[in-house]
Structures are given as structure tokens and as C-alpha cells.
Subunit: 220 residues, 4 copies
Amino acid sequence: MTAMSLFDSLRADAGPVWDSYIRHPFVLALGDGSLRTERFQKFLIQDYLFLEQYARAYLLLAYKLDTPADRRAAMATASVLLDSEMPLHVGYCAGWNITEAQMSAAPASLELMAYTRYVLELGLAGDTLDLMVALAPCIAGYAEIGASLAPTMTQGNPYREWVLAYSGAEYRASVEVALAMLERLWAGRGSAARYPKLREIFILATQCEAAFWQTGWAAP
Amino acid sequence: MTAMSLFDSLRADAGPVWDSYIRHPFVLALGDGSLRTERFQKFLIQDYLFLEQYARAYLLLAYKLDTPADRRAAMATASVLLDSEMPLHVGYCAGWNITEAQMSAAPASLELMAYTRYVLELGLAGDTLDLMVALAPCIAGYAEIGASLAPTMTQGNPYREWVLAYSGAEYRASVEVALAMLERLWAGRGSAARYPKLREIFILATQCEAAFWQTGWAAP
Amino acid sequence: MTAMSLFDSLRADAGPVWDSYIRHPFVLALGDGSLRTERFQKFLIQDYLFLEQYARAYLLLAYKLDTPADRRAAMATASVLLDSEMPLHVGYCAGWNITEAQMSAAPASLELMAYTRYVLELGLAGDTLDLMVALAPCIAGYAEIGASLAPTMTQGNPYREWVLAYSGAEYRASVEVALAMLERLWAGRGSAARYPKLREIFILATQCEAAFWQTGWAAP
Amino acid sequence: MTAMSLFDSLRADAGPVWDSYIRHPFVLALGDGSLRTERFQKFLIQDYLFLEQYARAYLLLAYKLDTPADRRAAMATASVLLDSEMPLHVGYCAGWNITEAQMSAAPASLELMAYTRYVLELGLAGDTLDLMVALAPCIAGYAEIGASLAPTMTQGNPYREWVLAYSGAEYRASVEVALAMLERLWAGRGSAARYPKLREIFILATQCEAAFWQTGWAAP
């Protein structure tokens, strides 16, 4: 763990679980454009509900953080979720005549409930480092997926706009800010004794991400 | 809603969802002793993990409550969960040579994660009334199940001890204390405008209970 | 209470306590420019520390709120505190060669600790309505003070910029947004039975505001 | 810090602040029986209100703790506060014809508000280690005071029962349980990088304890 960043250690230790998230069949089908529309719709609506909860998690983090700089960074991430990612989802759904009111009214999946409430409750019971570790798989994984799919994106791929959003400069900048905060929290509150529990949190959140793709992939 | 207690209103409004919990096939098979051992084992181990989280929810409630009397009542319920219900589960499992360490180490089901973290996080974001409404289906439903199954319990029914525990005087007394607190919180913090949201919480927690039986019932 | 808004009822019921805050000698001396610089400095540094904690309270509120619109409103108020009010304080202090680092390092007064931690902890133990009621005296009182002092503000009053900030359109708009949210929360979660406890919270927070002026006023 | 326990390090680093708490004039006057009754009454009523809030803090800790053993220990401490310390206070006050209802209705001092809400809010924003460090000065300091005063306690000292309670076996046992938990939390979640912030928490809580004596001492 010595010379690596906390994130690199966690990602390495998550090993095949991380790969099952980053290279889930749903992701590969996004990349080559073969994903069935119904599956993407199902995912997108759940992800819309997810983003609202994730914004809540970043607001909780912002409340908990000690320094004004970290507090502003967490508020900025909450704003990216609410003002940039959610409108992207709304725009896609508008193309299929699905309204934002319909998205808001969709029932949350069991996978969404388990993932979001686990992260939020951990964030209340634990400290900022526990919470940031639980948030890391989502924010960093989407950037990794975006980066892996963008180079081969074709003009005709219906998911092109989605992929470009997560491989774009704005999103990557917000990931860098979040990961820098993760490392600062680790430097300030981490220890070798805490690492096993943090790894457990990271792996569980990564499993939740893979399960989240699976709910879309399992759609008819 | 006028003359009914809050609990009676919620239970009535939950209607078929409440029945799907109270009269789940798993419950009926407990009652006539036909439930396959493996299914009860699977349920019991998940329920052991569940009780630990539910004790946490009653401790959170105890922290949040305003009066010393209510605080002590919530602490007493946490103690019943930890000192009476959990040992019942451990005793059953010991009969099958399953140790408490194995129970603690079992992976939590998605249903358990979704249910417990939903209740805990709601309890942190909301107030004591929100939290107590989310806790009510569990505590009151088990008493109703115990009462419905006890009269026809045979000596040879392998689940007899379990049923007698939830139909017994100690458990019923703790339910009465909890429901009296629910009504006090409703009198102090409730309103007609709050009722629809409380009903939504109650129904969601009831659905989580039914899903919890289903995880046992679906075992091979 | 019938036809009045919740805020108007609370303000009326706070009566002389409200007046002891709004018309504290410190406030009157701000208005006529007679306030000793040392007293304003002492207040301003404590208020700088206070605003950081109050921004945390609005972030906690934003986490707790149910609707996207309310969540954004609470985030916007947190931003006003951090990006508009705190820089106003820093600007004043810079004029006296007091740096922001010195302001951050100043020890918090007992009055600040009691007030801010009471509000934050109440916000965690209670619900959004409890929290918003605790936040209301600060945000609404400063607007009332600004409005009462602005008409007679002279060009030479050294506190002119401070008064104009709290009587200005940006601040008044943020107060209107906050008070509209208070009324919505009251409509959704309030009741006659809750009112006495809410009044108690409002009066306690108003007393804390008066005590906060007093710490500045008592400076040599 | 190496070979010392966390508590011993914190206590050593608190130095003169610790002494100002443990050897406050109020404490010395308790020891020789010279303390004016009115001062002890004022302290005792505030301390009664304090214990209710401290029980809430241990319940919050119990919710947050990870292991069943730690959870039960925190619940046991909450019970000692509610069922053993508070009745001691009620018994003393009954001797002066002050009822428990009068004690409950007494207004909380600024010192009490600042201390208890600081600890509770820190416990929500931080983790179990932050919270336990904030709780340590109270629980360990009273045992140290009890041990220092007990040997010279005379039969006629009106505060003899109070001193014997805090030097007695039951109280000392609860302190040992709490300090053992503090060291376990430090082993599991502590680090050299966290120590300065923990020391700051410990010293602030110790200052709050000294201020709490002072409110009694300053009574007429």
C-alpha cells in the first residue's frame, strides 16, 4: 500500500469485482452501440433516481467536512450531479417522450435502495473518510468507463452523448477534485489499521455498482 | 382516520401489502410445520443480522426522543432485540451446529441491506415519528403472526419455540410499549398533511418485510 | 395562529425577546455609526466563524429535504453565506489589517458554540421543520435589521456597507426563499400540537442571537 | 505518544487545563465540605440536565459502534447515567425539597448548551473515536476527582455521598469499560495524523468541564 495512492490500492484490491463493474456486459454493449434501448431506458431512469440520492450524500459530506475548501469541493460535486448529470438523463428520456415527472415517479429498485441507503447511513455512522471511500467507486468508475469507451465511439452510436459526457473534461475535472479529497482525508484520518474496513466498504460499493448495471441488463 | 389509532389506519391502508407479509407462504408453512429446514435456516441467519441493525435503529430512536420515559422504552426494545430475540436465533442455529460466529460472518442479502439502511437513513433524515412508523411493521407484524399461529401450534412443530416467543407475554408487552410510543409521537408531531408520507413509509417497510420472507422461501 | 404565517406567529410570540435581538444596543449603535470599532471587529470575527457553521446547517438541511426544488434553495442559501456574507466580513477586516487566517484561528465564543451546536444537533435529532425554525431568527432578523437601519444610513457611517448588504436585494431575495420554504415545511409537517415546541426553538434561537450581539457589545 | 495509552497522552497534553478541571476550587471545596449549599444545588441541577444529554451521547455512540460488545458497553454506560447518577442527584435535591420536575424545568446554562451540543454534534459529524475522545474528560475526570477526595472524606461532609458514588466500585468499573473502548477505537481508527485534532477535542471538552464547575462556583 506504501507508495500507491489510497484509490489505487483499493482499486487493485477490488480486482475482479472492479472488473465486473467496469467491464460489465451492459458497459461493453454501450460501447459498441448494441445495447437494447429498453435496457438503457431502464438503467437511465434508475440512475436518475440514484443521482438525487448521491447528491444528498455529497451534501452530507459537505456538512461533515472540516475545511472550507473541501466543503466547496463537495458542494461543487453535488451541483455537477444535479445540474449536469441529471439534465443529461432527462434529455435522453425526453427523446423517448419520457417526462421528468415520470422518471421521478418510477419505483426505486431494490439495488438502488440497498446501494444508496448503505452509503448514506455509513456516511452518518462513520466519518468523512468512510463516506468518501463509499462514494469513490461511482465517481471514479464512470470516468474509467468513459475513458475506455470514448476512443472507439462511432458517430452513429446512440449512447455517444452519454459516453462523451463521462469522458469529457468537466466530468474528469470533478473526478480529480473528488479523488484529491479522498487522498487528503486518507492522509488526515487514515491508518493501516483502518484499511481493511475501508477496502470492505469500497468492494461492497463496487458490487453495488455491478448490480446496478445488472438491473438494466436484465430488462427484457 | 379520525377515531382509529395511527397504527390501525396504516395497517388498514396497507391492505393487501400487509396481508402479503402476515400471510406469506413462508409464514403459513411455519404454522403447519411444513417449512423446509434449509429455508428456516436461511431466514434465521439473515434475521440475526437484521436484529443487530434493528437494535441500532432503536438506539438511534432513543438518542432522538425527547422524554426520559420514551428514551427508556426505546432502550428496552433494543435490549429485547439483543438479549432475547438474538439468543433465540443463536439457540436454533446451535441445534444445527451453526455457530454465532458463522451467523455474524454470513453475507447480508440485498433485501436486508435495502430494508435496514432505508429505515436507519430515514431515521436520521426524518424525525422520531418517521422512524417509529418505519419500525412499526416489523415489531407489530411479528406479534400478529405469533398470535395467528400460536392457537394451532402442535407439540411436534419444529418452529414451535419461535412461534411461542413471538406470541408470548414478554414480546407482546414490548409491542404494546412500542405502539403506545407510536401513538404518542403521532399525537405530538403528526398531522393529516403528514399522513400520506407516513403511509408510504409504512407500506414500503411492509413490502421489505414480505421481501425478507421471500428470501427464505426462495432458498432451495 | 390561524390566518398568520408560521413566521409571523413565531415572531409575534417571541415578543420582547425578538425586540431584544432586533433593537439590541449594538444594532442601534450600528445604525447611527456610534459603535466602537473594536466592538464591531469582535462581532465580525465571531460572525465569520458563525457563518461557516451556519453554512453547515444549510447543507445538513439540503441533505434532509425531500424535493429537488427545496434542496437547491438550501444549497443556494449555503452559497450566499459562504460566497457573499463571508467575503463581506473578510473585506471589512482586511481594512483593519486582520487577515482571513487570523479570523479562522480566533477562538469561538461560548455564545457561538452554544448557538451553532444547538441548531446543528437539533437539525440532526429533529426534522427539516425543526431545523428551519431554528434557522429562521438569524436569516429573517438580519433582513429586518437591515430594513430598519437602511433609511437613515449616512454616507459617513462606517457600517454603511454592512447595513446595505443586509438591506439589499440579493439578501432579501434569499430571505424570501428561506421563509417560503419554512411555510411549505410547516404546511407539510406542522400541526397545532407541534407549535409550542417550535415556538420554544424559535425563542431559544432568538435569545442566542441577542446573546451574540451582547458578546460584541461587551467588548472593551 | 508511543508506549502511553491514548488517554494518558491526552491527559498529559491537556496539562494545566486538566488541572483546572480536576482541582477547580469547587472540587476542593467539595472535598473539605466547605462548599456553600446553594453552589452545590446550582451545579447539581445543571448536572442533572447534563446527564440526560450525556446519556443521549452514549446512545448515539451505541448506534454508531461496529461490534455487539462495544454497543452493549455504550448502552450500559447510558444506563449508569440514567439509572444511577441521575437518581443520586434527585436524592440530594429531594433533601432540599427540590423536586425532579423542578430540576427538569430549570433553564440550561450557556455552558451546558455549549458543552453538550458540541459533543453531540461532533459525534454526528465525526466517528466513534472523535465522540469517545469528547466523552472521556467527563467520565474519567469524575473518577479521578472521586479517588482524590475519598481518602480524606469525613463523616460529616455533606458531599460525602456524592464523593463516594464517584469513587465507588460501580462507577470505577464503568470508567474502565469506557476507557478500554477508547483504546480499542484508537487502535482501530487512530493514527499519528489524527492525534492533534483529537487532542484539540479533548482539551476543549476539558475546558467545558472546568467552565461547568465555574457556573456552580459563581453562584451567590
